[in-house]
Amino acid sequence: MQIGLDSSEPRANIKYIIESVFLEDRVKTISQKLDSISTEAELLLRGDFEITRNLEQALNCLRTILENFAIQHDIAVSSWRDPEAPDFEALELVVKVDAKDFSSILRLWKMTDERIYETLSPTAKKKIIVIFERL
């Protein structure tokens, strides 16, 4: 949601400022818990409250699963724009896990996808892409 900074809308301005402050803190908290986050992804999150809230949810869900299975992991967030497809911007959640064979990674990936996407908003479902790789 975009809120104008017009001085004729003082209430909207206050809401915008409060949301921005909380959003900044939220993005910082998310970043600290990740193994890495790209500058572009941080910028995207700072400008989008809905995606930030949904990413936080996805990360919590992901961590619960990985901790339950006691799997060593590394989580990174980056953003990707397709130069040939204007308006398409993905937020990549790259999960690297320690596993010998990729079939077990795929099973874990499928289960994680099923759980994560059922909680996300339609916009976040489209934007957040979960990718599993080997650690």
């Binding site: 397709d82 040939e84 497809a85 204007p86 308006d87 398409f88 993905a90 990729f102 079939s103 990674i105 795929l106 990936w109 499928k110 996808d113 099923e114 996407y117 479902k125 489209k126 892409i129 979960v130 990718i131 599993f132 790789e133 080997r134």
Partner: protein, 156 residues
Amino acid sequence: MDPLDFYGLAKELRTKSSNYPEALKRTIVGRFYYAIFLMVRDELGVALRGSQAEPLYSSISQMGAIHTLVVDALSKIERDRHLSNVLYGMRRRRDTADYRTQTLRKLNWDSEIDDIVSMADEVLQNRPGLQPSFSQKLFEIETFVTFWHSKVAASP
């Protein structure tokens, strides 16, 4: 040509040796990706056959944006959300194989091939359900192909 011929070719190439082993392995990764990407692209094309979006889809199919469109189309189908991510993951690996001649850490290309084969097989196992799934969401997909076409056609 059946796109899955690329899958067969990639399997054959795995048994061959070359004076350029890394280039060969990178080529194999690319062929596995293209086999699956083209297969899904064509299944979507069949689902759109006879619809208003068919000519628009045919025109985007020849453009670079089609890779992302296909991933995006799969993500519209709840049941196939995971397949959309798998195809996206395959594309990332293909991009590395084709474009990144210098990678930060040395990649194990044998393991890259093993991984992409597993991903390819995961999508292939679900092939029979793809077209019916696209057909069920036809209206949504038609709308989104029209939107994509307007954006892609407008871009320089």
